[in-house]
């Protein structure tokens, strides 16, 4: 009975930082990551010389190093050169820059998969490069990239637990504190896992629904 009381008591205590921290952290970081991803993919697709090299370098470094270490560099490392960032913004910066590199690759692949003939037809209709990208290529590319990007979003929800390491008061952090008081590690961590599972399930359902809706329109 004691354990049931503990679980019901802690459920809201864990869920609340989930709603207040995990969700905003994910939504903000992922939105920024999309902006970064589209720009970095675009620079490569349009073959803009110096920027393309920079884009490759960025992707190479970010994808080649662990997320956890990137968090530590920004939060614990940068203060030694005078750059002090609060935990939450630091997490946003790292998560968006990290996911930006991955989604840039996803989006670039999708941009390149749009048939070249449609781009030529766009030019022949009198459109310029930016208009072709905006009206023809990007909508198709994002639709193709959608399943991968949705998976990335779900992965990010779970990765936000790493932010506990830089003192962000998100669900994992809060659970750890409750465990420290009650010593009920198994029950509480399972409960935390269950809450993550709820979040992921909602997103997976949403993904399926949106994919279905997109498939009823056009190719």
């Amino acid at each position: 009975m004691k354990i049931i009381n503990l679980l019901t008591d802690s459920f809201l205590k864990i869920l609340l930082p989930g709603i207040r921290v995990t969700i905003p952290l994910t939504v903000i970081s992922f939105s920024l990551a999309m902006v970064i991803g589209i720009l970095v993919a675009f620079v490569q697709f349009a073959n803009i010389r110096v920027l393309k090299q920079l884009a490759r370098f960025y992707i190479w470094v970010i994808r080649g190093t662990p997320l956890l270490i990137q968090l530590f560099v920004v939060f614990y490392g940068l203060p030694s050169v005078g750059v002090i960032i609060d935990p939450f913004p630091a997490a946003v910066i790292v998560f968006s820059i990290n996911e930006g590199a991955y989604s840039a690759e996803t989006i670039r692949g999708a941009l390149e998969a749009v048939p070249k003939g449609q781009i030529e037809a766009g030019y022949c209709s009198g459109l310029n490069f930016v208009q072709i990208m905006w009206h023809i290529v990007l909508p198709q590319a994002l639709r193709m990239a959608f399943p991968s990007l949705a998976n990335a979003l779900i992965a990010m929800v779970k990765s936000t637990s790493l932010a506990a390491n830089i003192t962000v008061m998100e669900m994992f952090m809060v659970t750890q504190q409750i465990v420290a008081r009650t010593y009920e590690a198994l029950a509480l961590y399972l409960e935390l896992a269950f809450i993550y599972l709820m979040f992921s399930t909602v997103l997976t359902r949403l993904q399926t629904y949106l994919e279905k809706r997109m498939n009823t329109r056009g190719a």
Binding site: E120, S125, N128, R143
Partner: protein, 249 residues
């Protein structure tokens, strides 16, 4: 209306266009014939700057410029005045049929949406697709897609339309409906340059025939003369072989 002088184009070591000249008058319907690999597609693509010619001069509506160094602005002006119909249709797959036709008007020419839709619907009616405005390209047959391609080409009121084998990607039973639309345009006086392997089309619709071989134009004459008084042995054999293939179908 369009004059081309000395157009050359190579891909690496392969010289595909070997300095040829071309003159198209308003109202001309020109069929371009020739064996595979003779440079027909490349010629059309250079005329619309989808491919950059290595050399050549273009005079379009009295304005003369070098084709290799044409500025982005010149290229845009030419494209605004011309249209292209592709072998593989190349419809915008995220746009409805009607949007495919109006995009060049609403986006490239900033035309009012309602006005553009009116033009688009008229053209779709003309090519026999009045029940398909809201369909997506992947819901259409090849012949229907190509008719959308033609409506899209017409929407921007071009001075000339380039066709690159508009019926070669179609099943035989769908070729007729597309050719009928092109013939109607010819009767209305549209200026068209049509690469084709359809001898019937060349014979009965085009007013002039150009024959290309290995990057050169080796014959350019009125259609009657081309088919009935052909002295060139090579061309006679080509026509025979194509017609023979046609019969086998």
């Amino acid at each position: 209306m369009i004059e081309i002088k000395g157009i050359r184009k190579s891909f690496g070591d392969l010289e595909v266009l070997k300095g040829l000249d071309l003159n198209i008058e308003k109202g001309d319907v020109v069929a371009i014939l020739g064996p595979s690999g003779s440079g027909k597609t490349t010629l059309l693509r250079c005329l619309n700057f989808l491919e950059k010619a290595d050399e050549g001069t273009m005079i379009f509506d009295g304005q003369e410029f070098d084709m290799h160094s044409a500025s982005r602005k010149t290229i845009h002006e030419i494209r605004i005045k011309t249209s292209f119909v592709f072998q593989q249709f190349n419809l915008f797959s995220n746009k409805t049929v009607l949007e495919n036709v109006t995009l060049g008007l609403t986006v490239a020419r900033k035309m009012d949406k309602h006005k553009a839709e009116e033009i688009g619907k008229n053209l779709l009616d003309k090519v026999g697709l009045s029940d398909k405005y809201e369909a997506y390209p992947n819901q259409l047959s090849g012949g229907q897609q190509q008719r959308v391609g033609i409506a899209r080409a017409l929407a921007t009121d071009p001075e000339i339309i380039y066709f690159d084998e508009p019926t070669s990607a179609l099943d035989p039973e769908l070729i007729g409906e597309v050719l009928a639309v092109i013939k109607e345009l010819a009767d209305e006086g549209m200026t068209m340059l049509v690469v084709t392997h359809e001898m019937n089309f060349a014979k009965h619709v085009s007013k002039k025939v150009i024959f290309m071989d290995e990057g050169n134009i080796i014959a350019s004459m009125p259609t009657e003369q081309f088919f009935n008084e052909q002295k060139n042995e090579r061309i006679r054999n080509f026509i025979k072989s194509i017609e023979h293939k046609g019969e086998q179908k």
